[in-house]
């Protein structure tokens, strides 16, 4: 179970832009590093992140090996209706991780 740190407000005003921060524990092995025996350490990165809000897309991010380990992303969403923020990370070797947060719009 990958560990995440998500900062999302619990309540926002309709029409406001609000900031979201997500941090995922993941090595983001670049595929460019070499181990002690001279073997290239195989790539193991998160390739895609997406955030949806009541099923509608907020942002989709393509990540490349240049993103640091324990990838951190900050972006903004538009407060529309109360409901659910969904987050998904997908990556090499079938990696998938999902999180959700409830949000209230006043």
């Amino acid at each position: 179970m990958a560990r995440t740190l998500i900062q999302a407000p619990s309540s926002v005003r309709r029409g406001d832009s609000f900031s979201l921060r997500v941090l995922l524990q993941h090595p983001m092995e670049s595929g460019f590093r070499v181990g002690a025996e001279g073997q290239v350490l195989p790539r193991d990165i998160v390739r895609r992140f997406a955030c949806s809000y009541n099923g509608e897309r907020v942002i989709e991010v393509e990540l490349f090996p240049a993103v640091a380990a324990n990838p951190y992303l900050e972006f903004s969403a538009l407060a529309s209706a109360s409901g659910t923020l969904s987050f998904v990370w997908e990556g090499d070797h079938g990696f998938v991780h999902r999180e959700q947060r409830a949000i209230t719009v006043t």
Binding site: R3, T4, L5, R21, Q25, P27, N70
Partner: protein, 256 residues
């Protein structure tokens, strides 16, 4: 050479005992970092070390072993029972009759509950517990115990700190007492106060212990690093804790 060491020893010995507020010339490694790295440490929603703290909290409450006990079973709420605990390690262990650091203390407790557990090292679970317990001392002053039984070990730690080692023939004191504030290559040399361990080191892109950092420094001067968990490393940690006495705990700190 010996005279130089004596002068250094004399200088160090003139530092007053007891807790001093900042302003006595000692500065945390925090002060040498860029603004964005400082911001990463100050905000718990930005600090990657908090990922390990979260895991540590989970482990604290996880039942293990034949008796099905968690840390919480005996120690209750860590925010209460572990408050200021990390700030006074290393401490003297009466049963073992030698100093132990927090890692060894946590490791011993875990082994009592899970007898098959190997000695503690840099594995995720151990680091997570160290980070979680360390967090309960954040903001409090480092308070190395006054226990007289620690004195000899602390002196040995100080002697190692001042001893030239490795192919480069440098002592810890050479860089971190004499040249702190100047630069090694492009990097500022901090004073080397162990106030924030375990730290999220940007170079590691992960969380690591003081022992890992000290061993990396020894590799850096081309010396054979002290063995993990060795008495010599604990003595060095013991001296470093005294050297940083009164400074605020920053666990989990972020460092370059």
């Amino acid at each position: 050479m010996t005279r130089w060491l004596l002068v250094l020893a004399g200088l160090v010995a003139t530092l007053p005992c007891g807790a001093e507020p900042p302003g006595d010339g000692r500065r945390s490694g925090f002060a040498y970092m860029g603004a964005s790295t400082q911001a990463m440490q100050l905000d718990d929603t930005l600090n990657p070390g908090m990922l390990w703290v979260l895991e540590g909290e989970q482990l604290w409450n996880r039942r293990v072993g034949a008796a099905g006990r968690s840390c919480a079973t005996c120690h209750g709420d860590a925010r209460v029972s572990m408050r200021a605990v990390a700030a006074r390690y290393p401490d003297f262990d009466s049963a073992l009759q030698r100093p132990v650091d927090l890692r060894q203390r946590i490791g011993a407790c875990r082994q009592r509950q899970e007898p098959g557990l190997p000695p503690p090292g840099e594995e995720q679970a151990q680091l997570s517990l160290e980070a979680y317990i360390g967090l309960q001392s954040r903001g409090l002053p480092l308070a190395p115990p006054q226990d007289l039984r620690l004195q000899t070990y602390r002196e040995r730690g100080r002697a190692f700190f001042e001893q030239r080692i490795g192919q480069l023939g440098l002592s810890c004191a050479d860089c971190h007492d004499q040249h702190a504030g100047r630069r090694l290559g492009g990097s500022p040399i901090p004073q080397g106060h162990a106030t924030g361990y375990p730290i999220y080191r940007l170079e590691w892109q992960g969380l690591g212990s003081l022992q890992r950092r000290l061993r990396a420094c020894m590799s850096g001067v081309r010396a054979e690093p002290l063995a993990w968990g060795s008495p010599e490393l604990v003595e060095l940690e013991l001296y470093l804790a005294w050297r940083a006495r009164g400074m605020s705990v920053e666990t989990p700190a972020v460092r370059p």
